[in-house]
Amino acid sequence: MDDRDLELRNHTYRAFVELGRAPDPEEVAARAGSSGDGVIASWSRLHDEHALVLDPTRTRIVMANPFSAIPTPHRVLAAGRWWFANCAWDAFGIPAALDTDGRIETACPDCDDPIALDVVDGTPERADLIFHCLVPAGGWWDDIRFT
């Protein structure tokens, strides 16, 4: 990952936030003065460095953490838009990254009861919930989608 990769990574994240979805390679190329192939090559290096996560074809973004490019059970309202987060941790990361308040909606994996809470100034408005992390930190990137 070199400075050009970081520049493309930053273009990618800005495009994600502006579009409200994952950009495709051509959309990032237009912003970065690059080519679609150049963006894909850069994304692949960023994927290898865990700066984002691509699908198995390495041409489409699956995760630009904390944002998810695909629907998940973790929805977040922040900055006037609904987002998908990759997990509960990332759900709190979206308002943090956007530097704003947010509303998180998910469901208890045990009973499927809806869970909703607001986050104001980084603080959850309810403290009764429990976060469970199944995989130890040493293995988070062994299978990031499972983690």
Binding site: N10, N65, D90, A96, C108, D110, H132, P136, A137
Partner: protein
């Protein structure tokens, strides 16, 4: 990495599987804020392992479970 209504719901969900670790949602929020707050910064650089471990340590998330590779 999920939110549960209570520790009892975690136990039921695990259904005999080996548990990971549970933390209060307030700690999770603090962790997320420190971990992700710079993600859209124009001068973003990847966190080093040491930076990330310091975030975990600073919230009392220590021990083998929270040790980054």
């Amino acid at each position: 990495m999920n939110l549960f209504r209570s520790e009892e719901h975690v136990h039921e969900w695990l259904n005999g599987r080996r548990p990971g670790t549970s933390i209060p949602v307030t700690t999770l929020a603090a962790l997320a804020s420190r971990w992700w707050a710079d993600r859209l910064a124009p001068d973003w650089r990847p966190h080093t392992r040491e930076q990330n471990q310091a975030i975990l340590d600073g919230l009392g998330l220590t021990g083998d479970f929270w040790r980054l590779p």
